[in-house]
């Protein structure tokens, strides 16, 4: 980024609520079903059909508002009118001048606060699939519409233009995702489209206050896309301005494969949505008791949960540990770490195992119950399992969704060696390598590794490396004492 310029970024995030049914009808709200099975007169927009608000959707929207420190206000639905084949009624029921949640903020992990202008409710559209050579709209031979998504509840979270860097934008999206998941309102899956990010970007000379002309970027389907698109767009705008050009207010499409933004429509071509209050719905004004219930029922947010993990470590976390804490909380595995720490397992060990071994399997959707995790780590820290063995046991437990770690360890042949057995193995090793042993006793420390490796091989890796090392050191100590 050219250091003479500063970015001004505001993000609009659409998040699908994971309610049982749609926003205005009783159809199932589910991702991945056969096309057009979850439909009825209302979400198909048939003549004569009417919307009825889903109470659970309101509850979830209020949770999001509360988690973002918004005022929850008396609100109203409005119609946003525009023609598009995925829009069953050719208008979208949304909230316009009276959103449910307004005036909140989100704090980034570094403490920087981004203002949240509003978080309002609206319905999703159907899903268009363009059939043709490239799958792009302009090359399509025909289009298919799946109305399963039509009427799925959304909350649109609009930030203030407070964001100044790509890193902040990514941190905002990431933190918001964590909050959405923590409220239980959304699964926050960008890859399934349940969280979608649009970015408003402008640039201005460093040290100036006035906003530049902004462009809105759509089709940002991952944090990586968000970052790349912002970098590209800022560079494009700066290049334009430095060559005495003008940035035109427009909506631009991010082309992930080409790595660039392309103009979709200009301000002049933009729709006049002709918003007006939705006459088929009554105003939505959750009373104080309901609001209080929602606020009281809100669980710990990611920032609080990160703080809990950090304090469990005792002392300030290292950079690597901070990364591990973020990863563990983002994936919702912090419960494993706190359970383990509570059971006396070293927190650093629990954090490392959760951030690495458990997290690695999270993409596959594998989960682990805290009890199995805690027992495994207790065995590791107690010396019954080596680190390698512990990781292998965790892998099996994750695949099976839990189980008894001791039984798994036994099944895998990971029985810990009794100290008698280890002693006998070491006796034999020392006897077979008298020269190396003498040099080790004489102070050649690097030979320790050779003995450990040999001990591991001799015990088919059932020995605990640390225990072997401790035993070797002890024997050297007594040998030295005996000689002197």
């Amino acid at each position: 980024m050219n250091t003479d310029w500063e970015m001004v970024i505001g993000l609009e995030v659409h998040c699908e609520l994971q309610t049982a049914t749609k926003l205005f009808c009783g159809c199932r709200n589910a991702f991945g079903d056969e096309p057009n099975v979850n439909v009825c007169p209302t979400c198909l927009g048939l003549p004569g059909s009417l919307p009825v608000i889903n109470e659970q959707a309101v509850e979830f929207a209020m949770r999001i508002g509360a988690a973002l420190h918004c005022d929850i206000r008396p609100s109203e639905f409005s119609r946003k009118n525009y023609f598009y084949p995925d829009q069953a009624k050719d208008y979208q029921i949304s909230q316009y001048d009276l959103p449910l949640n307004a005036d909140g903020w989100l704090e980034l992990p570094d403490g920087f606060r981004v203002g949240v202008t509003r978080a309002h409710m609206e319905e999703d559209t159907g899903k268009l699939t363009h059939i043709g050579a490239s799958g792009r709209i302009n090359a399509a031979l025909h289009a298919l519409v799946d109305y399963n998504r039509s009427g799925v509840p959304l909350v649109e979270i609009v930030s203030e233009p407070d964001i100044r860097t790509v890193a902040q934008a990514r941190a905002y999206a990431s933190e918001l995702r964590g909050i959405l998941v923590a409220t239980g309102a959304s699964d926050g899956r960008m890859e399934e489209g349940s969280m979608r990010v649009d970015a408003n970007v402008s640039v201005r000379p460093v040290g100036t206050d006035a906003f530049g002309t902004r462009c809105e970027i759509k089709n940002l389907n991952s944090l990586r896309s968000l970052g790349r698109a912002l970098e590209y767009e800022a560079a494009r705008q700066i290049a334009l301005l430095e060559s005495s050009g003008t940035v035109h207010q427009e909506t631009r499409h991010w082309d992930e494969s080409a790595g660039r933004t392309e103009s979709m429509r200009s301000k002049e071509e933009a729709n006049d949505y002709r918003y007006f209050p939705e006459p088929d719905l009554v105003p939505l004004a959750p009373n104080a008791a309901w609001q209080e219930r929602v606020r009281d029922g809100l669980g710990a947010m990611p920032a609080d949960r990160r703080a809990v993990l950090a304090s469990a470590l005792g002392g300030a976390p290292t950079r690597a540990e901070t990364d591990q804490i973020h990863a563990v909380v983002d994936l919702g595995h912090d419960g494993l770490v706190t359970a383990a720490a509570g059971a006396g397992v070293p927190a650093k060990l629990a954090l490392a195992r959760a951030a690495n071994e458990v997290a690695a399997q999270s993409d596959a959707g594998l989960q682990l119950d805290p009890a199995s995790f805690v027992s495994t780590l207790a065995m590791e820290s107690g010396g019954q399992l080596s680190a390698t063995q512990s990781k292998a046991v965790l892998g099996v437990l994750l695949e099976r969704g839990g189980g008894d770690p001791a039984a798994v360890a036994k099944e895998m042949g990971f029985e810990a060696l009794g100290s008698d057995t280890l002693g006998a193995v070491l006796d034999e090793l020392i006897a077979s390598r008298p020269d190396e042993w003498a040099r080790f006793v004489a102070g050649e420390d690097k030979l320790m590794g050779i003995f450990i490796q040999a001990a591991m091989e001799a015990t088919e890796r059932k020995a605990n490396g640390k225990e072997v090392a401790a035993e070797l050191s002890a024997r050297r100590g007594s040998e030295v004492a005996r000689r002197s």
Partner: protein
């Protein structure tokens, strides 16, 4: 003709079979409706099957309900499962809804029989039923005259004696004005008292379904069946409806009636004379009648013709050729071109006019001057009603400014056509109930309707007052089919 009350009593007692009643009604329409074109289609098979079901109930000693075996004509903007629901529009010419409107289900539960779908101004936009894509309906009192609209087919069905009852919808007078012009009773309930689920929307904040009947008592009978909370309609009122049939004959002793000058003054002299006679009749029956002026009503028409088209422009957007109804392929690969070709071919002139008016009124830069201003006027009208009802229990006025006019007389003059609704619109803007009761004839011998207006949820009082007006109506005027 036999009233619904009598007919239902006879069917419930086994004196007459529902099947016999329905067969006779179907035969009547077959032989007689060529002259009027009240019906767009008959639900003959469904009606006979429903009649048989009613008869089976009676046979089994069970009560099929208060409308047992009574044929009811249904305005064609009420969804009927598997049966054409066109709204009088080419754009829905072949549309069969997959569901029944809540009122259609309510009718069936009460033993009523949906006999057929009646003609209407396209999407309920009009006051003469001449805006139907399927040809106009004629007034059964005089076939050279319009039946009024937009529920002209339903009014004509009752006036012609095809069905003792009919359902219509009233957005700015579309039940009451055709009732007046056809010499039958037509009533618009309180907004939210009758579910709109399955009523194809024209202007959502104004639309309300209501009954047509030959007597006030029959209208109350049907209203009681329709009224109630519907969880499928968010604007449906949650309170339990007060029964009206039981009190319809309770008279008007001590009731304060405001004869509203603003709902009389601009009307034709013969209409004014009938309204004043009706006021005298009420006074004679024990009501306290006074003249009252509510000048805000004069702004109602202008506000209505911004609000209704604005909502309509949004409600009718869905007729785009994508999912159902007419599709005209423009030959290109562009969806927008298909939308345009479909809408150009599918909508009639009046519908297009209102879509354009409404789109304009909601457009950026015009919203405040038109739509928002109209909403402020609507609030004024509501406040004016409140003021009037602080002194009066009901208001009295004309329903329509004139008796039925000639077919073709106003089709090219939208403003003249819109003026038909000037007396009926205030109740829609306020969401209040109102009823038109036939009261004698005009100078041309055609029926005149007197309108009674009541505060929200005062339907029982409305019917009581209307019943007294009906009792004192001059005999004979416009009582026969031409």
């Amino acid at each position: 003709m036999t009233t619904a009350t009598t007919l239902a009593a006879e069917v419930r007692s086994g004196e007459r079979s529902a099947r016999e009643v329905v067969d006779a009604a179907l035969a009547d329409v077959d032989s007689g409706d060529g002259a009027y074109h009240a019906f767009l289609c008959l639900l003959a098979d469904e009606a006979r099957a429903e009649a048989d079901a009613v008869d089976a109930e009676v046979e089994a000693g069970r009560d099929p309900g208060p409308l047992a075996g009574v044929p009811v004509a249904l305005k064609d903007n009420l969804c009927t499962r598997g049966a054409l629901t066109t709204c009088g529009s080419k754009i829905l010419e072949n549309w069969n809804p997959p569901y029944d409107a809540t009122v259609v289900e309510a009718l069936r539960r009460a033993g009523g029989i949906g006999l057929g779908k009646t003609n209407m101004d396209e999407f309920a936009m009009g006051s003469s039923t001449e805006n139907s894509a399927f040809g106009p309906t004629r007034n059964p009192r005089n076939t050279a005259k319009v039946p009024g609209g937009s529920s002209g087919g339903s009014a004509a069905s009752v006036a012609a004696g095809f069905t003792p009852l009919a359902l219509g919808s009233d957005t700015g007078g579309s039940i009451r004005q055709p009732a007046a012009l056809c010499g039958v009773v037509g009533m618009k309930p309180t907004y939210g008292r009758v579910s709109r689920y399955g009523l194809v929307a024209f202007a959502s904040s104004l639309d309300q379904i209501g009954p047509f009947a030959t007597t006030v008592e029959d209208a109350a009978l049907l209203f009681d069946v329709l009224a109630g909370h519907d969880p499928l309609d968010s604007t449906s009122l949650p309170s339990a409806p007060e029964p009206t049939l039981t009190t319809v004959h309770h008279g008007v002793e001590g009731i304060r009636v405001g004869l509203c000058r603003d709902l009389v003054d601009g009307c034709a002299p013969d209409v004014v004379a009938r309204v004043r006679e009706a006021a005298d009749a009420l006074a004679g029956a024990g009501a306290k009648v006074e003249e009252v002026s509510v000048p805000e009503f004069g702004y109602g028409l202008s506000a209505y013709y911004l609000i209704a088209p604005a909502e309509a422009s949004s409600n009718l957007a869905r007729y785009d050729g994508v999912r159902y109804g007419l599709r005209v392929d423009a030959g290109g690969e562009d969806v927008a071109a298909m939308n345009t070709a479909t809408r150009t071919a599918g909508f009639g002139a009046e519908v297009k006019r209102r879509i354009m008016l409404g789109t304009y009124a909601l457009s950026a830069g015009y919203y405040d001057a038109y739509y928002a201003q109209a909403q402020r006027v609507r609030t004024l009208v509501m406040q004016a009603f409140d003021r009037a009802y602080s002194s009066y229990d009901v208001l009295l006025g004309a329903t329509a400014p004139t008796t039925a006019f000639d077919v073709g007389a106003k089709v090219d003059d939208p403003m003249a056509m819109y003026m038909n609704d000037v007396c009926t619109i205030p109740s829609n803007l306020a969401g209040h109930p109102a009823i038109s009761v036939p009261f004698g004839g005009g100078a041309d011998g055609l029926p005149v309707g007197v309108q009674v207006l009541a505060p929200a949820l005062q339907e029982a009082l409305l019917f009581r007052v209307a019943q007294v007006v009906e009792t004192h109506a001059p005999m004979g005027a416009g009582a026969s089919r031409s």
